[in-house]
Symmetry: C4
Amino acid sequence: MDLISELVDANRILFHQRIVDAFGHVSARHPEHAGRFLMARNLAPGQVTAADILEYRVDDGEAVMAGPPRLYLERWIHSEIYKARPDVMAVVHSHSPAVLPFAIARGARLLPVCHMCGFLATADGMGPPTFEIRDVAGDASDLLIRSRELGAALARSLGAGRVVLMRGHGSTVVAESVRVAVYRAVYTEINAKLLLQALPLGELQPLTAGEAEATRITNEAQVDRPWNLWKQLAAAGAVAGS
Amino acid sequence: MDLISELVDANRILFHQRIVDAFGHVSARHPEHAGRFLMARNLAPGQVTAADILEYRVDDGEAVMAGPPRLYLERWIHSEIYKARPDVMAVVHSHSPAVLPFAIARGARLLPVCHMCGFLATADGMGPPTFEIRDVAGDASDLLIRSRELGAALARSLGAGRVVLMRGHGSTVVAESVRVAVYRAVYTEINAKLLLQALPLGELQPLTAGEAEATRITNEAQVDRPWNLWKQLAAAGAVAGS
Amino acid sequence: MDLISELVDANRILFHQRIVDAFGHVSARHPEHAGRFLMARNLAPGQVTAADILEYRVDDGEAVMAGPPRLYLERWIHSEIYKARPDVMAVVHSHSPAVLPFAIARGARLLPVCHMCGFLATADGMGPPTFEIRDVAGDASDLLIRSRELGAALARSLGAGRVVLMRGHGSTVVAESVRVAVYRAVYTEINAKLLLQALPLGELQPLTAGEAEATRITNEAQVDRPWNLWKQLAAAGAVAGS
Amino acid sequence: MDLISELVDANRILFHQRIVDAFGHVSARHPEHAGRFLMARNLAPGQVTAADILEYRVDDGEAVMAGPPRLYLERWIHSEIYKARPDVMAVVHSHSPAVLPFAIARGARLLPVCHMCGFLATADGMGPPTFEIRDVAGDASDLLIRSRELGAALARSLGAGRVVLMRGHGSTVVAESVRVAVYRAVYTEINAKLLLQALPLGELQPLTAGEAEATRITNEAQVDRPWNLWKQLAAAGAVAGS
C-alpha cells in the first residue's frame, strides 16, 4: 500500500532531519478504516522498513495481529488522538532537541515567528499548550504515555490544536496527512531553534493570527517540495543520519 | 552559456553552504539583454541542473517561453529589483537560519563586525533595512512577494543597498555578479552567526565606514578563491548537503 | 570474550557520538575477577580494536602483562572507582563539550530536566558533585588523575553517585554495565546541552526525585535500543567520526 | 622533506577541524636556515599539496624563487613573527568562528578554563592580547596585514606570547613546532566555544597560572596523539571537510 511506503519514508526523513533519534514514532490512520492506524513495531525510526509496519486498533491501541512483536510503549499517544480527533490522519511524537527547552521552562511560548511556521498559531494566541503529566499520573511517573487514560489526557491537552508540548519529554504533532505531519514536526523544531537565537536580541514580532493562517495554507499546499528534497537527502544519508 | 553553468553552481553552493534549503532562489540578469534574467524553474536549489534554467522578463516577472513549467511564487523579488536597479546583475533570496533572528527582533542591527563582511555597511550606519510587508499587504498576508507590487515595495526597501531583511521571512542579497551575490549571501549568514555569539560578551566594535568599504573591495576582488573552494565542496557533497 | 567486543563497540560509539575525541576512556570490570578490569592501551578511543584491550589490576591500576605498551595517564580514575564501588562494572571518563561549562561555572547545577536523564538525580537534589582537584593536589597541578591518591579522592567525590564532574576537566560516569555507562555518558551530554539552551528561557522544572528514579528504571531497561542504533551509526561513520 | 609533508598535513587538519576555511594559513621556519620559512602559495588550505609549498625570506616576506605564483596577501604575519621571535618555529593564522567574538567584543577575555588550554595563559593573567590595527593603519584599512610594518606591529602585540587576537579579523597562534601550533589553534577555538557556553552560567573558574603551565607541559608532550587522530580524520574527509 502507498501509505506504508509513505510511512517508511516519514520515519527515514524524521530520523535524517534529526527530529527523532533512537526514540520517537510516526503513525497514519488507515485510509479506509477510521478505527485502524498504521505504525512500526518497536524499532528505532531510522531502521524502519515496510515489513515493520503493523496495523493497530484506535479503540485500545493494540496491534490487530495475534502474537505481535514488541510494540512502542507509548502507542496510546497515537490511538487516543485518533479517537478524540476524527480529522487527524497522522501523528508524530518526538524529543526534538530545540523544542525540549520550551517543554521545560515555565511560561516559555513557542510562538510562530517565521512564515514557514504559521501552523503553530493557536486560537488563544499563546502557542501550543504543554501537557503536564503530574496532573494525571502524580509526581513519580516515568513521564511516558503508557495507558489509554494517559493518552486520553494528552489528547485533551492537544484539544483542537496541531501541536502539544509534553513537559520534560518532547512534543506531539498532528495533521491531516503524513506529509503535513512530518512538515510540522520539522518546522516546529526550526521555529524553536529560531526563537532560542532571537530571544536574546530584543522584542520579537510573532506572526499575526491572519499571517499565521495565510502562511500555513500556502506552505501546506507546497508540502511536496520539501518532502521530495528530504526524501532524497534521507536516501543518500540513510544510515549515518548525521 | 557560461552564465547558466555559473547559476547552476550558485544553486549548488548555496544549498551546500546551508544558505538555502528546499526554499530560496538565485538569479542572474542576462548579460546581453538587460530586460531579461535567468533563474531555475520552481525546484529546490540543490536539485537544479542546466536544463532547469529558464529565461524571464524583468518587466512582468514571467517566463519568456510559452507554457512554462511551475515557476517560483516569488519571482517578483528578482524582476522588480532588476527593474529598480540597473547596476544589479544577480539576486539571492534565502531564509538562512542565523539571519532570521535579525528579521524577527525589533531593532536588532546586522552591522558588519568582521573583515569578510564589510559589504553589510549602509550609508546611514544602521546596517541592512528590514522590509515590513504589513506596510503594503496588510496584516494577514502569507508574507510572500507574490506580485509586481510587492516586489516593487521590497525593491524600495532595498534602495541603493546590497542586503534587505524581510521580517519573519528571510533576506535578499544583490550584487554585480553571481559570484559576489553568493559570497554576500554566505557572509551575511556568517556575520549574523558571529553577532549572535558576540552580543552576550559586551560592547561590540563594528567596522568603521572606511574599514567596511576597504574590506569589501579587497574581498570582492578575491571572490574566486572562496567560490572555487565552495564549488569543489558542493560537488563532493552535492546530495547529502549536510 | 564478549566483553572485549562490547568495550570496543563502546569506544567507537562514544567517539562517534562525540562524547570522547582524541582523549577519554571507557573500562569494564572483569566479569569473573572483581579485582581486574579491562581497558584499551593508551590510544584515541575511535581507533581502539580488540587487540588493544588490556587487563589491569584494581589494586594498583597497572596492567597485568609484563612490559605493557603505553597506558592511559589517568587509569586510576577507573581502578580507584572499582575499588571504592563494588557495584560498579563500567566507567567512562570524557571531556564532552556541553558538560564542561558545568564543570567550570561555580554553582551551575546539572539537574535532570528530561525523561531520558533521570539517572542524574542525586540524594541531595543538587545534581552531580564537582571534584575540585586543588583540594588534594594544590593549585599548580595539571588537573590529571595521575595517581592512586588522586583516583581515591575522585572516588570519594563520586561517593555513591552515578556521575561526578571534574572542575576544568570533564566528567566521569559509572554504571552496572558497559551499555548503561555509555547511555549515561551520552545523556549527561544531552541533558547539559538542553540546560544550556533552556536556562535563558526562564524558570526550569527539573524532574522530581520520583520521576527521576522512575524514568531511570524505564530507560535503562530499554538500553539495547539506543545501543544498537549507535553501534550501527558508529560502524557506518567509524573513521570520519564527524 | 619531512617538514613539507608535515605542513601539508597541518593545512588539511586545520581545514578539516574547521579552524581555517577558504582563508587562513600555516607556516614553518626552515629547520636549517633560520632566515627562511615554508608556506603554501596563495591557495585555500584544504587544497594544499606538497607541490604548493614555497620557501620565503624572513627578512622581507617574499618568495625565494624568481617569478613565484600568487602569494598570500598576509605573508608578513609570518615573516615578521619569525623575525621578532627566534624561538618560534611555526605560525597559524585563522578566522576560526568561536574566537572571533572575542576579537570583536571590548574587554572579552579568552582565559584558559580547561586543562587542554593552559597555553592561553599570559604573564599578566589577562589572556591573549588583541591587536587593534587602527593604531597603526588608521580607521579605513581593510584590516589585512599587508606589509612588513603591519606585520611588525602585530608581532609587537604578540610580544612573548603564544596567541594574539586581531580585532574584527581573527587570531594568530605560534609555537616551537608545527604540531604544537596546530594543537594550539584547535584548542584556542575549543576554549572559546567553551567560554561562550559557560559565561551565561555564572562566575567562571579559570586555571591558575600554575595549573595553566602544568597542563600546557603535559598536553604538549602528548601532541602526537591528537595530531595522529586528526590526520586520520582529515584523510578520510579531506574534500567534504564537513
